[in-house]
Symmetry: C2
């Protein structure tokens, strides 16, 4: 059985390409509100679960001890574009820990935000691990590691923190398991782009994790407090979680704490909808980039979150996306396919 | 009915993403050698048919009159990376025509080749239409326009050459129709990334066009000569057709005139296999980028073109592609799915 087509790409009036995938919305009890496609299939959530991976940073007390700001906490949950403010925020946290970019094990790459890459090249500089889209998460892991090290040498303790058996990574995986309720000991494991482990988890369990983030229900008391703290930090600093022109930043800049969403590589999206107490997870089968998952997320938000014209105006161009060519001529569109439209119509308030 | 999975993306040992699509191989009579998926569905071929679109440049006599070099002819069939040699070659042709980049209607964009973009930014310059991946095709169209203008002002004649009814574009569309044998008057039309029309054509007809390019059979005498001239130019200057690290360039640098292949946007690939007299066309349904179509193309070449260990060594890492993360760690792979492997096994020599 193949998953349904969720999003179509049109050129002129003709469907040029189509994206299949699965979508599930659940409540905090784990009950299915909406399921489209195979929602039991294990999916590598990639960066979509960074908020879950940051729970120990707050729950351990590390964030409080080093007085992490909203910007630093949001960056710990980010796949950022490597813009100057992202880089400076990661560098600032590391400096406060008495560390620097040399402890980060995420690898270096040119900024995902193209103007930032060109500006960096123009300045004659090269990218460092601070420009890696995961540098905030890794700086947060370093902060957690500083706490776990106790009085010992933090730099030495952190060596190998991206390995599955390192104390830092054991805390992160335990939080992911607790939030999703899925046994990771028997889950397929892979290595993520930033070198930490990633586990294949059924889409429905990922959605359950975000319903728990939305409500606190089903989380330990410490994780519930941590989830609320991280949601608030992200809502206060949405630029830090992604960056200029990025969907996560744009949507949360508008919706604030009403929506807590996060893209992942290979067509994944997860989100918490606190006012409904629901969580959702999306996987586009081809996973090739984020365009289809973004349309699915925006479509769900359109069905569930629109209260006024301003809400509608933010979502409309992200549900029906105009595609333009190099001269700026409108040449096509992305749009939710009929299967997705029909499924969401059953949900719309 | 959905198309079969052609390519899988693995993380560790687990399938993370999958790409469905269609593949057809035909001989010069249009008889099907291999068909997988829906090969009658109309597909926008995008840049995969640039060689067909360049037939009038040669058949009209324009290429001879302005003594186009192999590099210029290959660039006329290219989706290049905007590397300095690409830009200089397009600029050189325009200068010989008494024109410059201001006649090009393709729009400007930063080079697709990332190091070229960073070098351009480092130099303080901005991209022009010469950096557009289609600037060679458009320079070729300008050359054709100079001939069609007769003695008249070429710059004035060229204005609006990207419009469907302009004499230049009518020549291009007529060549595409003649080669594929498909009536474009009733085909869905869209606007391509570089602003010229693109027509949705059944995948099988696209493959037939490339079988004709491979053999000359079924083409007019002028187009048959032109196709051979363009194939030879591309084989002599494979860098010009794509660029550093690109599959088309790498494969043709090795296989020379044995393979004439071209990627198109949205998951399309077309190729002529002169030694077999066959043509092929690939469309990956999701169209999101080239990774899956590249694996399909390399898999077909592996089944049909391997004569010795050198051939095998060039293809093996492009059929089973190792995916690495930012630290260079192998984290996954692209591989042909079983449906594709089985279909190709029936073809293998």
């Amino acid at each position: 059985m193949s998953n349904p087509v969720l999003v179509e790409a049109l050129r002129g009036d003709t469907v040029e390409s189509a994206h299949r995938g699965a979508l599930v919305v659940v409540d905090a009890d784990g009950a299915t509100v909406l399921a489209l496609g195979d929602v039991q299939r294990p999916v590598f959530p990639r960066s979509a679960v960074k908020l879950l991976q940051a729970l120990p940073l707050v729950a351990s007390g590390a964030a409080e001890r080093w007085q992490l700001t909203d910007a630093e906490l949001a960056l710990a949950c980010a796949s950022h574009g490597g813009e100057p403010a992202h880089v400076a925020t990661a560098a600032g946290l590391l400096a406060r820990l008495g560390l620097d970019a040399s402890v980060l094990e995420c690898g270096a790459h040119w900024p995902g935000h193209e103007p930032a890459t060109r500006a960096l090249a123009r300045s004659g500089a090269e990218p460092s691990a601070l420009h890696n889209n995961c540098s905030g998460k890794h700086s947060g892991l370093a902060c957690l590691g500083c706490l776990l090290a106790g009085g010992a040498d933090a730099r030495g303790f952190l060596s190998g923190y991206t390995q599955p058996q390192h104390p830092v990574m054991r805390e992160v995986s335990a939080a992911l398991q607790a939030a999703t309720g899925h046994d990771l000991a028997h889950a397929p494991m892979g290595i993520d782009g930033c070198s930490i482990p990633t586990f294949a988890i059924p889409l429905q369990a990922l959605a359950r994790g975000f319903a728990r983030v939305a409500t606190g229900q089903g989380l330990s008391a410490g994780h519930a407090v941590a989830a609320r703290r991280l949601r608030r930090a992200i809502a206060a600093q949405p630029f830090m979680v992604a960056g200029s022109g990025r969907l996560d930043t744009d949507l949360m800049a508008h919706f604030g704490e009403r929506l807590c969403c996060k893209v992942g590589a290979e067509g994944v999206y997860c989100a918490a909808l606190p006012e409904l107490g629901w969580g959702l997870a999306i996987k586009v089968d081809d996973g090739n980039n984020a365009r289809a998952a973004e349309v699915v997320l925006a479509s769900v938000a359109q069905a569930l979150l629109v209260r006024d014209e301003a809400d509608a105006a933010v979502l409309a161009p992200r549900v029906a996306v105009t595609l333009r060519n190099w001269r700026g001529t409108a040449v096509g569109a992305l749009r939710p396919a009929s299967s997705l439209q029909q499924a969401l119509a059953t949900l719309a308030r």
